[in-house]
Amino acid sequence: MTSLKKNDFSVIGKPIAMIDSAGKVTGQGKYADDLSVPGMLIGKILHSHLPHALIKKIDASRALALDGVVTVVIGTDAPNTYGILPVGHDETALAVEKVRYVGDNVACVVAESESIAEAALELIDVEYEPLPAWFDPEDSMEAQANFIHEQRPNNIEKDYHHVFGDPDAGFAQADVVLEGRYIANEVTHAAMEPHCTLAAFEFDSHTGREGRLTVQSSTQVPYYLQHKLSIVLEMPMSQIRVIKPLVGGGFGGKSEIIPLEIIAAVAARKAKAPVKITYTREEVFLAHRGRPRTIIDLKTGVKKDGSITAVAAKVIQDGGAYCSYGVVTILYSGALLGALYDIPNIKYDGFRVLTNKPACGAMRGHGTVNVRFAFESQLDELAGKINMDPVSIRRKNLLKPPCITVNGLRVQSYGLPECIDVVARESKWAERRTKLGKGRGLGMACSHYVSGAASSIIRSDMPHSTVNIKIDRDGGVIIYTGASDIGQGSDTMVAQIAAEVLGCKMNRIKVVAADTDLTPVDIGSYSSRVTFMNGNATLRAAEDIKKRIVAAAALKMACAPEDVIMRDDLVYKKGVAPVAPKQENAPTVSGHVEGQILRGSVQQKRKDEGPKERMSFEEAVTAAMDNTGALGGTGSYAPPVEAKGGKHKGGGVGPSPAYSYSAQVADVTVDEETGEVTVNKIWAAHDCGRALNPVSVEGQVIGSVWMGLGQALQEEFVWKDGLLMNPSMLEYKSPSSTESPEIESFIVESIDPEGPFGAKEASEGSLAAAIPAISNAIYDAVGVRLRECPFSPERVLSAIRAKNGQKKIEMTNRVDPTAPHKMREHGGSTWYKGKGPQRHADDPSRKTTTEVPAAD
């Protein structure tokens, strides 16, 4: 397959509009909140206003007395624990016994309308007993009592300590060693669609009792949702149907079970009616599951020639109140130190820590982004120390694939060298760098990401993806895939692959996706696995069904099956000009009588003609059905054993069948008076194996770089004692068109030996490099090395003033952005010190209140 050139394809590699785009531009497409069913009630959730407290009593009698309120659901209605990871079942639908963050779920009102439900929330009386709360992970790790989860002493969810090679010897060989602390603040997905779930039970037709449950939800993982619902509701999975309608963006925020998905089902059961819950934007921020605040203590050694001898990283993640994907996140942070450059010795200590804040989870570039920011910044600094160009030092440390890295990651296709060449050339790196004048600079960085995890989180030997294809007498091709299109275009991807293999036009293809009743299991849209895994399953399913069509066509055309070509809706003998058969449009052949093909006349016609040289797609399909009956094909994909990585504890996270690569150059201008950073342009080259749909690949690459840019410059959670201060799209500062620079993307095709048509990941790998490319460009522009992101004006300005020896103005809550020593807390308290209860005497963060005066 790798020998195929671009022009050997008829559908692959062509810019194709997403097959669901018309529904999106006309408003016809239905997202979860656009759905309603007869008798549907509305659910609204009561959230905790305390960061850590025991629930002494919940009295809903006043709410229940309100006209229009149907029921109120509380934790004891469904106390079974669940969580996305088998090792992290620490959540319940609604809080049982205690709440763990401001925003934790306490009760759910089900009412006839949203306004009634909202009014009823005010009437639920909850008696709490406040507990000490932890907001800084380094404080939280010191806790001796009142743990956030009883079973997690010292509030440490999980810690890992990995040594690969001989790091001590590596550092001893180095000519220059740098150590530094980097902090990346917390960001969130903020997908445009707020989460929504509609849950409805139906009567069992035999028993007349409450029967099957149908859940339509904004999810990236319908099959995991089905599984977790079965645990909480104590129902067999076969009695639960999960349907994913259109999803308005995920970025990881819908890649696990979000509280409302379980709550809606529990509420529907108790209310004995369909219930829809839609989050407000503020609730979306509180549900969160975004990228954790991360402290990275990083040490890197290089020789004078630029080769890296060893890396040691200690990473502490501020995980929030529940495990979520935390164990995986902290493992990715260490594992993906490998597979980008050739690093012979790696030491990694990772700590995932619980704090009394909304749970962090998986977000685009899961686990790699913040560590990559630290690593690429430090590499830039090291290049400076040994007087080496930042591009050259990266070229010096390239892997030599095929290879297995010191931490057990198998690398086959590797387009990084070409990515670096492309962005260096396009940005005119050599000519322009250092010649841009005062306040303007260029920075370079690289990153990579997995094309799906080689081992699934549910530890099973089942295929990761399965796809079925049905072709019927109408010549329509229906693909049944469990892949969840969340806007990244997976429906279009499977349609393209099937059309290419079957040699038919795209308009024959219909995709039925992500419905647990109709489609075979696919583990979901996360870790950039869908093109690689579901794409491969589609390829196999299409080849399975194609075999039978080809066999039948070979009989009809009296040739060997190898000589049958299917392409562009035609089936013809090798060597025959692919011209449409004349009779294709003749009514006697494909004629319809009240919607039915006259199969008899087709057969008669064929008999009359004798052996043929070419046939239409329908004719070939009909021939195959005449031969062997109904046409169905199936294909599945499980990653090969060789890609599954090392045997060490935690070694299952990081290994992937293939890695994508990215190199970027950022051109920035820094205003030395205000500290404002303007990104003029970013050049981004991404190795996606093969671009199955170049418009989509470019859209994914640009989108990831842009999201990295948001984290680099302005997006950040602002906290005061566990209360999120900026839970809205404007205050969170999601970049608008006026803040978004030109991003030019370049596709590099390394043709992976195992990817479908050579394709691999395109949607995540480019995010991480954007942040260090910008910080390195800021250094190039104004000579300050920022080690805390985002590089917001107050951080940049305070660094510039310190460098210039200007009078200090306190703007960063006493955290130096060039040498951040701790998490930056934003000032005092809104409710602890003010209206609310006094902070608990043992609260470790109380100790700091005398040292750090409120700055805001």
Partner: protein, 167 residues
């Protein structure tokens, strides 16, 4: 709250609906008229996903009270994304957003359709800067806006070609 009967003119058709006087226009369109194309993304008019046009002017329906936009003689004509397709075919801007990747998850797209349509009605040949500025009230988390600019330019070209052909 007691409901009141109001009359709205949406996409050229009149509708009588009984709603609470405080009901927002977005909720009325979505829940009472079944026009779910306009989306709720933020609740506080910061994201633009609910953008509609009232007499051609783009407005944010998530913070408008429906009862204030009752149709009167020649005024308060509401257009939603469902009213953009012309004569049963996609408008040039709709086709271009699909072809050029201007829409990924599509949730913000209806809002962008209404904003861009209003821009092009007002200014058929906007400069790059004018396009960038006019989109700044609509947020998108997928595209980084780059492919939207390509889509808008392609739509303008298609319109001009169409007009030239019509002459």
């Amino acid at each position: 709250m007691k409901k009141e009967l109001i009359e709205l003119k949406v996409n050229g058709r009149r509708h009588e609906v009984a709603i609470e006087p405080s009901k927002l226009l977005l909720d009325t369109l979505r829940e009472d008229l079944g026009l779910t194309g306009s989306k709720r993304g933020c609740d506080d008019s910061s994201c633009g996903a609910c953008t509609i046009q009232v007499d051609g002017v783009p407005m944010l329906s998530c913070t408008m009270v429906a009862a204030s936009y009752q149709c009167d003689n020649g005024g308060n004509e509401i257009t939603t994304v469902e009213g953009v397709a012309e004569h049963g075919a996609l408008a040039a801007i709709q086709k271009a957003y699909g072809d050029w990747g201007g829409s990924q998850c599509g949730y913000c797209t209806p809002g962008f359709m209404m904003t861009v349509r209003a821009l092009l009605e007002r200014n058929p040949e906007p400069s790059d800067e004018e396009i960038r500025h006019s989109l700044s009230g609509n947020l998108c988390r997928c595209t980084g806006y780059t492919q939207m600019y390509q889509a808008i330019k392609a739509a303008i070209q298609a319109e001009q070609k169409g007009m030239a052909a019509g002459k």
